[in-house]
Amino acid sequence: MPTAAIDFTQYPDEHGHFGPYGGIFAPETLMAPLEELAEAYARVKNDPAFQAELDADLADYVGRPSPLYLAKRLTEELGGAKIYLKREDLNHTGAHKVNNTIGQALLAKRLGKTRIIAETGAGQHGVASATVAARLGLECVVYMGADDVVRQAPNVARMKMLGATVVPVTSGTRTLKDALNEAMRDWVTNVDNTFYIIGTVAGPHPYPMIVRDFQAVIGREARRQCLEKEGRLPDALVACVGGGSNAIGLFYPFLGDESVKLYGGEAGGLGLETGQHAAPVCAGRPGVLHGNRTYLMEDENGQIIGTHSISAGLDYPGVGPEHAWLKDTGRANYVAITDDEALEGFRMLTRSEGIIPALESSHAIAYAMKLAPTMDKDAIIIVNLSGRGDKDMNTIARIEGFEF
């Protein structure tokens, strides 16, 4: 399909569809609240007062704009395209997640909700939700897979200190997808006073659109910063993709710029051929989970299967429906990066630039390491450095064989 024929800014349609993907596959009790959310969002989207409040919070609380940093030594090491890093790791709370929680918390306030719930995998979205809840004086409950509670103990401690209740989820595979199920169950039960802050571009409409719009600040800034520094648009964008919120945030403002190639790095885990991965776009098939139609990791009977990634934040069997659409239309390319490659990326950035990336973001670095040498020296790549690696020190220490 020629992508020039598609105006990507027109998606989703009013029912939340990105081509055949997305939609609202939700239990009946949630249909009215989802509609209420869509209406509330439509009102604030063009409300200057709301946007001003959001912009002020992003500037003074989050610390935006985040820098677009030319990684000189990394560029020299790789000997190809110039690599810029979009420094989302410098945001308050250490990742891009807060761009979205700030926005959704303001929406919750507008809707008069007093209680916030969230799901989390690595804990970054949970921390970002607990943070905004603390700031607005809202009750906050975070659902987290019981296995992830153990893997990501430092973030659990942060959430608790911020006053959130962390509920370990012991059903299913005890990871992110099960936390999402449990958050949905909570929402169905407490829908009158509760706002569900979904952390990625998944879930039923309008969530994929709302989260994308709040994260698109990444791409808008990057586009402007690149034009300022280089006088032209980049040639390629690279981001890691779990649910895909940091990737869509970077990609979205560039979707109409056909010369800009888009690359999403999924979690290849131990390798696609082993089945031990979390790369639904590369190796899955379309299905319906968590309220939307998208690419999924599933068996031949439609049961969702367990995933594996070194990074808890990418350990999810689905992907945002807009990514499924970008894949099918050919507008974006998706590649699988293995655990080992991600670790190489982690070491490379840490040693060459003095920046310790999150293991999620290390997947993007690893793909840039493959891509840059194939491009001219005057070509430009922007890599979304979606988060910092402090939370991963336990995992890294174990792998590298040292103790604190």
Binding site: I24, E28, A32, D178, N190, L289, R293, E300, N301
Partner: protein
């Protein structure tokens, strides 16, 4: 007329509310499901609701979640569930069977292939929890073409505008979810349900069933006075879980609760209401 519609017509003629027990197919073991289905009918069930196991049952409470996990431990698939219905139909050609579950196992089957095979296996209706009427393009047509009823949920939060759409797209009966919550919640506000049903009656011609929160003979009788059907799930599944290591005790416990509910519902109707 579908088997479900006929059954509701027969019951109306004798002033009875339908009793619809739910069990999860394959719980506690796939070999036991068909026997349990016959047993529920013998003890007074008018229709059967058979849960199709899915790995991510986001609308179910802990009791049914665990039932689904027990079934999935035996890899119970949609094909297996249809085989169970086929086996049930060999000796029971009349009791309507309704499948309840989530969309993805149907999606991967393909709507038309699923509808064809389900109908051929003796299934009468399908309730897909995460399939609202707005997304049913292709799905509803396929089920309709195969002669399967499309059961949709209405909840306390459903606005009148959507009730109209559900009334148009649904068939067989409409399932009113009695509370905001997941399956297995224990609070049932009968007065509130009665008020909602009165409003729904003016908008929906199909029979109205009520589920969620009905857990004993008393609550079943209360709902039987005001609704056309009473759905009971978690209370039965809880008995299965409690007695799963002793199949005979389990059968007695399940049959006992269903028979009690049946008797209390009939009596409630006889006393008028």
């Amino acid at each position: 007329m579908s088997r479900i519609a006929s059954r509701f017509a027969e019951l109306r003629a004798v002033n009875r509310a339908a009793l619809i027990p739910y069990i999860t197919a394959g719980d506690p073991h796939p070999d036991q499901t068909v026997g349990l289905m016959h047993h529920l009918v013998a003890q007074g069930a008018d229709l059967l609701e058979l849960g199709v196991p899915f790995s991510d049952p986001m609308a179910d409470g802990p009791v049914i979640q665990r039932a689904i996990e027990r079934a999935l431990a035996h890899q119970v698939s949609m094909h297996d569930v249809l085989a169970m219905v086929r086996a049930f139909r060999q000796t029971d050609p009349t009791t309507p069977v309704l499948l309840m579950g989530y969309l993805n196992p149907i999606e991967i089957f393909g709507y038309e292939a699923f509808a064809r095979e389900a109908a051929a296996s003796g299934v009468d209706g399908v309730l897909t929890v995460d399939m609202p009427p707005e997304e049913t393009a292709g799905y509803n047509e396929a089920l309709q073409a195969a002669g399967l009823d499309r059961i949709f949920l209405v909840s306390p939060t459903t606005p009148a505008r959507r009730v109209k759409v559900i009334a148009q797209k649904g068939s067989g009966f409409v399932y009113y979810v009695s509370l905001k919550g997941v399956t297995g919640a224990k609070t049932l506000d009968v007065a509130d349900v009665e008020q909602h049903l009165a409003t729904l009656r003016s908008q929906i011609e199909l029979p109205l069933g009520v589920g969620f929160g009905i857990h004993d003979a008393v609550s079943a009788a209360q709902v039987a006075r005001i609704a056309d059907a009473v759905v009971v799930g978690s209370a039965l599944v809880h008995l299965i879980e409690t007695h799963m290591n002793d199949p005979e005790v389990m059968r007695q416990a399940l049959g006992g609760l269903v028979a009690e509910m049946r008797a209390a519902m009939n009596q409630a109707r006889r006393q008028g209401g």
